[in-house]
Amino acid sequence: MNEKALESAYRAHFPVFRVHPDLIYLDHAATSQKPLSVVEAIQNQMVSENGSPHRGAHQLSVKSTEIYEGGRQQVMAFIGGLDPREIVFTKNTTESLNLIAYSYGMTFLKPKDEIAILISSHHSNIVPWQVVSQKTGAKLVYLLVDQEGKLPETELKKINERTQIVTFPWVSNGIGTKLEPRQLIKKAHEMGAIAIIDAAQVAGHERINVIELDADFLAFSGHKMFAPQGIGVLYGKYELLDKMPPFLTGGDMIEYVTCFETTYEAVPKRFEAGTQNVSGVKGLVAAIDFIEQIGLDAIKTHEHKLTQYMMMRLKELSFITIYGPETLNDRGALVVFNVEGIHPHDVASILDDHGIAIRAGHHCTQPLMQHLGLTATCRASYSIYNSERDVDDLVKALYKVRQVFGYDD
């Protein structure tokens, strides 16, 4: 297939573009659009496979259990895991990270311990650790990135014998920089710390292999990788999960409950309290199938090309400042920029009026913004449903934005 044909084949999977044919959706990093196969999977689950998992002997309950536990296996394979007990379902990345903070952080951290956080982290990977720090007395230490969002070697020295946790975004949603996770993980392990990867901007974009990475925990959301909202994943090494107390408690995560004492289920069920979102798991599995069918390599190639093209086109505009790394290999599928003289929210509003959806603001990365001396930025993020034409339209519309503000470029 030639490039054009491939692009329209990709786009054809997404019914949103049939409903909104003029939509240029450049906000994939916030939440992805859904392929038809995912929509249909959810529909089928609700219409013909719906029951409460784990608890029942009847067919619909059994079917739900199969979908749920089968989903665990598929998620495990998707991230290169080897033990399904290492996959915990949550509602989103935020809950996954809170689970680690509450269950691991609150339990094992003490005063003088240190938590090393990459400053480019999302609020969901910062605020829970502030809470842990306040409650346990452990100290927060920030690893500072440079203007391109890269981590200078020297910052690694902040990881020392007191460090218990190292946590960072593999790809930063605030500036788009992709890190090499292995060096951070290696350093963490050398110092006896555990390493947490926030993979929210990586899942569905890159092949993940938790075993090769030797990650201790890894978190991501379904809704950013073509799956529905309301389902997330926490990967954790078995020996860590196994020694952690439960987080949410209640139905389905217990063995025996008496009035005053409870014995808990083994992992991963210990962390899955209450009726779980089987429908969400069904959608997540359909999303994984979709990704594997398109192929992660093909996705990466396509996104890579778009990054290259977007960088090239935006650089032609004298009124645009691009943030993040120059080198394509250090970038995720997003470009962060500002328009001279115009507040990002005004840019986003006017672009929206031209049918172009981007994100403006601090992208839930205020500490990064403060560190880089910015208040707000514009972010264009993309996926296989985007094409170079979208970039051309963005560029055209950016000229219009400037015009509206009286600039004459």
Partner: protein, 155 residues
């Protein structure tokens, strides 16, 4: 192209002009308004004397909508009685909420009428009401102590 029109018709003028963006020598009230989501952070200064708004101005940074709305508001209330200003604030917020105003009330909002289209841009409502909320607080307060407001999620 509703967005373009709100931007072109009014905002440009006030943004470029910036004639209300400065400090007052003798403010009786200073009110800071901020909008965590946008990063808007504007401070309104008002000099109230004998029940009239003698002077007003603002400082700070924000998007075009928040600064224009602030500046147009200042033009509108300057010289008005506290009572009249109060009515303007009420009418303006009603308008943004999408409530029907009397022709008279609408007219009294003069240039600020253009912000009626914010009804259709809910993501920007907080920008367009930031300055007016500061004014509301000023008018409600009897003393001139500095306070700090954060907008809630309703208007």
């Amino acid at each position: 192209m509703m967005t373009d029109s709100i931007y072109t018709e009014i905002i440009m003028y006030h943004n470029k002009e910036g004639h209300n963006k400065h400090l007052l020598d003798h403010p009786s009230h200073v009110e800071r308004g901020h909008n965590p989501n946008c990063g808007d952070d504007l401070t309104l200064q008002v000099e109230v004397e004998a029940g009239f708004i003698k002077d007003a101005s603002f400082v700070g940074n924000g998007c075009a909508i928040s600064t224009a709305a602030m500046s147009i508001m200042i033009d509108l209330v300057k010289g008005k009685s506290v009572e009249d200003a109060n009515q303007l604030v009420k009418d303006y917020l009603e308008m943004i909420r999408g409530h029907e105003l009397s022709a008279e009330a609408l007219e009294s909002l003069e240039d600020a009428q253009i912000f009626a289209s914010l009804q259709k841009m809910p993501a920007r409502v907080k920008c367009g009401t930031l300055g007016w909320h500061c004014m509301r607080v000023v008018l409600e307060s009897q003393d001139s102590s500095e306070s700090k407001i954060t907008l809630d999620h309703n208007i």
